[in-house]
Subunit: 475 residues, 2 copies
């Protein structure tokens, strides 16, 4: 039961649901939501629970609606290049089903082996290849979903193009279960890309690596992935998997190019030059696909490897590419200032950084310092023209950040949209934004009694209400 009450954002509070329903059909989802609507009972939808912002965390005494058993690949149409899937299909299962037809579903969050398409839609998941191929929203053509009033509707289309009405499909994508509960997803697929060429660069400082990222953008390169992994991650993966990575570098940049023919070779050569120009201690085009795969595997293992070391608070800021070096420098300063270990993995080519703040389990003082560092990082990202969340979503952890990023007029637009699609506020209340009376009453953490009834207040323990960037914006 506990595993269905929360996601992987271990710092975000979670309540105890009254009941968990594991739906097996759209009709069942509709029945549950219709009953919740009648009785004004909130409902929290969830997929695999791999989220990192607390978006799927349960609310005390309410319904959790798990969609993991709706896991059928309904259709792959190789001619139209579309797939129709139920929300509980694992991301990598869709990828495998498409690959059998020579097709490819590009979005690739690092959670791809475990996360569901429904969860990917709820958060507009990104991943490694978005720097060239875009995010979930770029691939979803249509949705079937249950509305906040318990009606089963179809949004979007199956055709390549279409402008019949407002883009409600795109609106629901990334809304974290607060505007509708998705029961079927129609995605566009691409032809499988050519085999990729990997370029690795080893750097002695994270800021040098950031400069290499900015240099590659200035050179006009479009890698299919451009990932950064720092020494903390390399060491944690080594400790766990004994791969010997951390001996060779403090920071690794991994780039991939999948242009066909000689164009990929040329791009790889130019990337090597960018790495070297930015001060790489070693930069090379991989000639060994197995070695290249191992490097990307290490990248994907970084998060679980760090989780073995303590409680991990995951950041997800995204800044303009030119600001990557400065943002990385500021993260290092925050780590020193607050005496906290901050590891960095990053979709560096997108400017989407994942500083990971690690504390010993049970060390309350370290936790407070980590929270202060988290607040500093959010403030720095906004100051550099960035956003508080690149791909993980707002959930619970980034609610104060969202209020700092958006103007009050834009927050009002959000509330209006929320009320339009969920008039009784039963869909995942307390997440993303407060919009209705049920949000006010949503008790999310058993330990937050002092915050209960405070409405839009941050969940206890998740965000320091005296954070400097909140003061700056007049909070």
């Amino acid at each position: 039961m506990v595993s269905l009450a929360r996601d992987e954002a271990e710092w975000a509070p979670a309540g105890t649901p009254l009941a968990v329903v594991r739906a097996t059909s759209p009709a069942e989802v509709r029945s549950v939501v219709a009953a919740c609507y009648r009785h004004r009972v909130p409902v929290v939808a969830r997929g695999a629970g791999t989220g990192l912002s607390g978006g799927a965390n349960a609310v005390d005494g309410r319904i959790v609606l798990a969609l993991d058993r709706m896991d059928r690949v309904v259709e792959i149409d190789p001619l139209e290049r579309i797939a129709v899937v139920e929300p509980g299909v694992l991301k990598d299962d869709l990828r495998a089903a498409a690959a059998k037809q020579g097709l490819w579903y590009p979005p690739d969050p690092a959670s791809a082996p475990w996360s569901t398409i429904g969860g990917n839609v709820a958060t507009n998941a990104g991943g490694l290849c978005c720097v060239k191929y875009g995010v979930t929203r770029d691939y979803v053509l249509g949705l079937q979903m249950v509305t906040g009033t318990g009606e089963l509707v179809r949004l979007g289309r199956r055709t390549a193009k279409g402008v019949a009405g407002y883009d409600l499909t795109g609106l629901v994508i990334g809304s974290e279960g607060t505007l509708g509960i998705v029961t079927e997803v129609t995605v566009r697929l691409r032809a499988l890309p050519p085999p990729a060429i990997t370029v690795a660069g080893y750097f002695s400082s994270v800021v040098d690596a950031g400069r290499a990222v900015a240099a590659s953008a200035a050179a006009g390169l479009t890698p299919a992935a451009l990932e950064l992994v720092d020494r903390h991650c390399l060491a944690a993966v080594d400790d766990w998997k004994n791969m010997g990575l951390s001996i060779e570098a403090d920071v690794v940049l991994l780039a991939r190019f999948d242009e066909p023919g000689t164009a990929g070779d040329a791009a790889a050569e130019r990337m090597v030059a960018c790495f070297e120009g930015a001060g790489a201690t070693y930069a090379v085009r991989s000639t060994d696909e197995e070695e290249a795969e191992a490097l990307f595997a290490a990248r994907r293992l970084a998060y679980p490897a760090l989780e073995r070391l303590g409680a991990v608070l995951t950041e997800d800021v995204c800044v303009p590419t030119a600001q990557v070096p400065e943002m990385l420098a500021r993260i290092e300063r925050s780590a020193r200032k607050h005496a906290i270990t901050i590891a960095n993995i990053a979709h560096a080519g997108d400017g989407n950084l994942h500083p990971l703040l690690i504390t010993d389990h049970g060390d309350d003082d370290a936790r407070r310092r980590a929270q202060s560092a988290f607040d500093d990082i959010v403030a720095d990202a906004l100051a550099l023209g960035g956003t508080v969340t690149g791909e993980h979503g707002v959930g619970l952890l980034k609610k104060p950040g969202l209020r700092a990023e958006l103007s009050s007029a834009v927050l009002d637009l959000h509330r209006g949209v929320k009320r339009a699609l969920d008039p009784r506020g039963i869909l995942n209340p307390g997440k993303v934004i407060r919009a209705g009376p049920l949000d006010r009453a949503a008790v999310i953490a058993r330990s937050t009694s002092r915050d209960a009834g405070r409405g839009d207040a941050a969940p206890a323990g998740s965000v320091n209400v005296r954070a400097p960037w909140r003061r700056r914006r007049g909070w």
Copy 2:
């Protein structure tokens, strides 16, 4: 004044505005909308007026807000690959400004030399290259706009990724001025693609050409454009420009490939094979870039060339690619059945067809027959799993089609969203969907007195209310 009262959908009714304001700054736009909000006066925004659905047509006695003088390219950032432009910037002017930095803004409606970015955003404009490169929504990162309550807000971001809150940017794109008035647009740019290779196929029937399109999709080809031009268009362009095209073919398919290096050559060869396999009388990879440009120029000239022949009612249905041959066959049947000339240009690779129904000016009987054919085409597109509008928008001409395509529950969601963003219903009332009291009162055509007050009724003369597809859906 007349030219500012309507767009190019000559069959859509237009009223006479009380006043036209040609704004020169976001502050002026805000002042106008705030005044309209206070006094509950509708306001119709417009760019260059190249729309084809009547979306920018004036309403009797209300304000037209022209944005064509806000035509500044504010910024091109080659490192972040973004451009910031005012809404009145011409599409081709943005393209030219980007090209100076080696960058490219892909969406390319055939109106690109005359249409504005603001209008492109309002309709989510597509064009020739979307089959590979997507539509306007795929490129817009952020917007500045004036809301229905007269507030100036920023939506979206400048970063590559971001999920902070609902995708209101995407929601406003394609909303045809009914959810906000855009005052600045931030778009992402791409690196300029390599020079394209053109493949031309000549066919003796439009259905054979449709089969070639389906065959190329089945072969897994991803052309950067795949356009169809039929004999009516070829003859009209010949009449006008004397290019000698119609002597050689009944239907031409034009494909472009811009893969780098030899990959483009290989794709072009495979496309020639697809054309020949589907019965092309002649299929060739162009070796002469000037000749290839002339063929695409003819494609772009087709619409204005046909306008010289009579009143043109433009269709914009989009069907699954596999249904392109069947849809083209049904269009031919409709032409015969209603004794109407229907020319076809199509973004065939997207399944986005533009049958053009041509009647003599002043021939009321032909006009009625054309209207019946228009209704049949819409019904056929829906029956084949398509949408009533691929890229032109709903405006006035496709309002009945929208009601046929969307369920009443989804239409209710639209109305809720409209009311959330435009609570007094002052933004372009009477277009897309009826949502508020001002829509009911919106007198769009001076000649529609018998329809005034009927609320969501079709504008007089634009759609036959006895259309068979309306009956089938319970209208």
